[in-house]
Amino acid sequence: MLDLMLSSTDRELDLIQLSALAFLPAVFALVLLLVPSGWKTAMRWTAVFGTALTLTVGLCTLVDYHTLLDSRSDRTTRSLYHPATRLDERADAQLAVSATGVGSYLSDDLVARRPWIPRFDVDYALGVDGISLVLVLLTAVVCLLAVIASWTIETNLRTYLILLLTLESGVLGAFLSLDLFLFYVFYEVMLLPMYFLIGLWGGGNRKYAAIKFVIYTLLGSVGLLAAIIALYSVNVRDFVPQDLVKQRAADLKRKDPALTDAKALQLAEVHTFDFVTLGKVGRAVMLALNHQEDRIQVARKKEQGTNEADLRRDRQGTPEPVLLLAEGVDREAAIARLKGQSVCTPTFQYVVFALLFVGFAVKVPIVPLHHWLPDAHVEAPTPISMILAGVLLKLGGYGLLRFAFPLCPWAAHQLAWWVGLIGVVGIVYGALVAMGQRDFKRLLAYSSVSHMGYVVLGLASWSGGADARYWEWAVNGALFQMLAHGVTASALFFVVGVVYDRAHHRDLTRFGGLKEPMPVYSGMSAILFFASMGLPGLCGFVGEFNVVLGAWKFNWGLAVCAILATVLTAAYLLWAWQRVYLGVNPATAAFPDVSAREVAVLLPFVLLSIALGVFPSFLVYQWAEPSVAGWVSQLAPLQ
């Protein structure tokens, strides 16, 4: 792969940059193998250095991405949104280059694509947009702090750090993948490190928790594999650059010289794992299934200056066109071909959506499939709980946002109410069960279930037409909620870890009075508790507020339930706060306050949760919102 990137003919800087972002932790895992076995401090610093470097590359990517957005923005509007900077536009441009071999790979489009397994059309394709960048940065931050939080790990330190870094590589790769197959590979790479991290360094019941985690996740991911195979079987020839189809026709003719050119061109099929292309198919199918196939239109050359807005002006009174088919495609034949495929049947859409949804729902986790989470959280060591809550759950939300909804929009729209209901059930159920917990970590685990419910509700708040901006708010809220939950949940798991190191138990009924001996610690945790609760001015508020705002338009009943659940959230968190910190307790009176290392972990979290709450749009929305706007602008008009 290395020579592939460094080949001089088409050197592409963003390919190197994005690959570095994904693989730097893995490289440092290899470096760790070289550290002599006695040098534990050296190993720790190597890991810190590796994760910090990854974060640095992530921040550089953010700067690049912002520059990219800025370069296209006309600065007359508040939003940096421009169609040309959307991920799918950039990916399409890249696909055209790699399909035809004409043109050059751009170094500043933050999308990279090289063939990996041509026989199965698998590409090594990486790319970022606002949605993935939010989560990439969250991952890099949480992993860095988790490594610092791991300072007390002594047994098998080298293996531990190697597994942790491999895990980070898997997560980052999954967030950066533009190719379903590549995504699946990264997604599975995470599975085993987590298994060992829980199983080897966890608490008393760790083996049970580890195996439960793996079996649940595997169940979801084989469904995912089946869905990916089904999507791969779709013939996407009318949605890709037509030169690719001509190449396939030539291949067919080489195999069977008896074919005529026309026949070969007719027989040629193109299959892909590229989710941008598959998303176009999904949207076309949605229009076809809703009997609006006259809206499916062929894209024109960019130079002619026709874009969707012009077309709309040309065709006053006719239904709004959606440019899905590739340039130079015979529209009638393409629509006939699409309708002849099994992808254009309700069964296919429902089954594939269900497989994708369940696959990611396990990770989110959504209520009937959440059972692995409390066990895994409780048994995992503190830093691993941080990563589990802060990062791995986000993969579920990301998968729904990136794959389940855009790839099967028709089924997603049909089932939107049910998906929203599942989200609300998660919110309420998680909060209620959290209230009944005595174990501090278990309480936080159920609070994760509750908080991630908002993400699902936000995504499901499908409002089209003029109300599309409500959905945009909700999706923005869902994205921000993932970030906010990533910060607060990881921080709170560390808070539990700190007190566990002193008390060696997590029983809420036996704590109390920590405020006296540990004032700094208590102050910091108070901020984090309130942030998690969703107090205005702190990060938890922004996401939940946006989600509920958007959900109100979608279905006010669900929104009301979600709003009422915040009371429950406040109840269980305040009650937990009261039981841990207030009062007088001789058993905890002698606890030392947080050490410098613990402050080093907690302080960034505290600062982040304040900053994200006070400046959400400056810090996140200004560059994340354009991607969400693009996402919604593709799906909302299909209704």
Binding site: R119, E188, F196, I211, L218, G223, A226, S342
Partner: protein
């Protein structure tokens, strides 16, 4: 019949050409003879003969390699020896695979010291004899050669299964294997004779033509049906497909791990190759694309689903590692049969890729079991406990093999499984396009069975992983990794054939395991070279 001079020269030239292509087999056969002769001299008793046998194998592989480009550029590859065998890219791929495997098996035997110096001649003879039979199976193009190949492959395997002399389980395994094998080959022979009588010849072309005539009238008469069924029973026995799998767990448990690896990988490769070639030849001749899938194909689908499911479910209950791997072998035969059931060249290519990936994976798994045995003297899950503490390198390698068997990316097991599932799904699609909704539904169901089975198989692979990595060694006092001898004498009185020789295990075995693990990883990351070979290999098969 007098032969004219021209006929003689042309025959000579053809024979020369064919013999050149057949040279790897000739070398293997020659080595077997030499090894048998060496046994006569007392001087060689002390010498371990595995390396002696490995030398000619390298030469045979080299010869195959020199012909490789001729095969894969398409200038070589046709029937040889008046149509008895076909030496085409498909056969070349499998023969290469078998030779590589035989070589690795000899190396493994030398490292673990399973055959000690005195027995090594027998071991190598049997191993090479079996390999020769399997190579013939892979290239057979005539029902007679099918039978000869199957018998040549089976007989040495019977002896190998009982190679642990003086061990009751081993002898029982061998006896069971012989009885089942004899019955299966009897049935297969009966089927062969029925088909030969019916179609007036045993060459695959003649048989395929017979089926094509039947397909035209869309009728299967009783004789053909019975003959086909009986022949396929023979194949199913070699594949250990349900319901002809009963020998497999007992034989694997009784035989040494090294032999188990040979039986599970090499024997399977030959049987899959033979089945694919036979069925694809028949299918390719039939004008009606759905005739064979609708008759034989449905049977293969059902057997594949049953084999995978039963293998995985039964493996869940095992505590003996070799027995568990035996059931896992059965399950993997099921996955391969799924690909065979598609009757497409994609499916055949997927089966070949699966086999190629299965070679290092399963050999590695069995070698890891052998490592556990040499370290602790036992082969159960309990002996596996605490492996990570005793020998981290072995544990890492075992992890890689188990995960590859489970089919997790980026390991080669996933590559194979993905291709199998993909071919099954696209077969369903193409039959749906042909209007055969039953077959379409059948293939989707088959895919679902495969997917669910993957999750089920996690149950037992992860159990081994948990024992090896997460658990502590139960009562075993900590001992240096992979050094045995004294431990066995004290605690686990295994009979003498398993006595571990000087230099057994140790660094050699660890290096062997790590090498295979790296191969599993590399093949899982870089599919392209192997894909190029498999897709080229199946092009030589008749069919579409």
């Amino acid at each position: 019949m007098p032969v004219s001079a021209e006929q003689y020269t042309s025959l000579r030239a053809v024979l020369g050409d064919h013999l050149m292509l057949f040279a790897p087999e000739v070398i293997v056969a020659g080595t077997v003879c030499v090894l048998l002769l060496l046994r006569l001299f007392k001087a060689f008793d002390k010498l371990h003969l595995n390396p002696v046998a490995a030398g000619p194998l390298v030469v045979a592989l080299f010869l195959l390699g020199t012909q490789w480009s001729a095969y894969f550029d398409g200038s070589a590859g046709a029937t040889a020896f008046s149509g008895l065998i076909r030496l085409d890219p498909f056969a070349a791929f499998l023969r290469g695979l078998l030779l590589v495997f035989a070589l690795l098996a000899l190396v493994l035997g030398r490292i673990t010291g399973l055959p000690d110096a005195a027995d090594s001649a027998d071991y190598a003879t049997l191993l090479l004899g079996g390999t020769l039979g399997m190579m013939l199976m892979a290239s057979a193009n005539h029902l007679l050669m099918v039978f000869l190949g199957m018998e040549m492959a089976s007989l040495p395997c019977y002896a190998l299964a009982g190679f642990l002399k003086g061990r009751r389980a081993g002898s029982e395994a061998a006896l069971k294997y012989v009885l089942y094998g004899a019955a299966a080959s009897g049935v297969a022979l009966y089927g062969i004779s029925l088909l030969t009588i019916k179609f007036g010849g045993g060459s695959f072309e003649a048989v395929a033509k017979g089926y094509a005539d039947l397909a035209r009238t869309s009728s299967l008469d009783a004789i053909t049906a019975a003959g086909t069924l009986m022949l396929l029973v023979g194949f199913a026995f070699k594949l250990s497909a349900v319901p002809f799998h009963f020998w497999c767990p007992d034989v694997f448990e009784g035989a040494a791990a090294e032999v188990g690896a040979f039986l599970s990988v090499a024997s399977k490769a030959a049987a899959v190759g033979l089945t694919v070639r036979f069925l694809m030849t028949v299918h390719g001749a039939c004008a009606d694309v759905t005739f064979v899938p609708k008759t034989v194909g449905v049977g293969v689908m059902v057997v594949a689903a049953l084999t995978a499911t039963l293998g995985n479910l039964a493996a869940l209950a095992q505590t003996n590692l070799k027995r568990m791997l035996a059931y896992s072998t059965i399950a993997h035969a099921g996955y391969m049969l799924m690909a065979v059931a598609t009757f497409t060249s994609d499916g055949a290519a997927a089966a070949l890729f699966y086999l190629a990936g299965y070679l290092p994976t399963n050999l590695g798994a069995f070698a890891a079991v052998a490592a556990v045995r040499t370290a602790t003297g036992g082969e159960t899950l309990d002996h596996c406990r605490g492996l990570a503490k005793r020998s981290p390198a072995t544990a890492v390698a075992l992890t890689v093999f188990l995960l590859s068997l489970l089919g997790l990316p980026p390991l080669v097991g996933f590559a194979g499984k993905f291709q199998v599932f993909e071919s099954v799904y696209s077969a369903g699609q193409s039959f749906g396009r042909l209007g055969s909704t039953t077959l379409e539904g059948g293939f989707y169901a088959l895919l679902a069975v495969g997917v669910v089975n993957t999750v089920v198989s996690a149950g037992y692979y992860l159990r081994v992983l948990k024992a090896a990595v997460l658990d502590d060694s139960p009562d075993l006092t900590p001992r240096p990794p992979l050094q045995s001898g004294e431990g066995e004498k004290n605690q686990n009185p295994l009979p003498s054939p398993l006595r571990v020789g000087e230099g057994a295990g140790g660094w050699g075995l660890t290096a062997f395991l790590l090498l295979l693990a790296v191969a599993v990883l590399v093949l899982g990351l870089a599919w392209n070279p192997l894909l190029a070979l498999t897709s080229k290999a199946v092009e030589s098969l008749p069919g579409r």
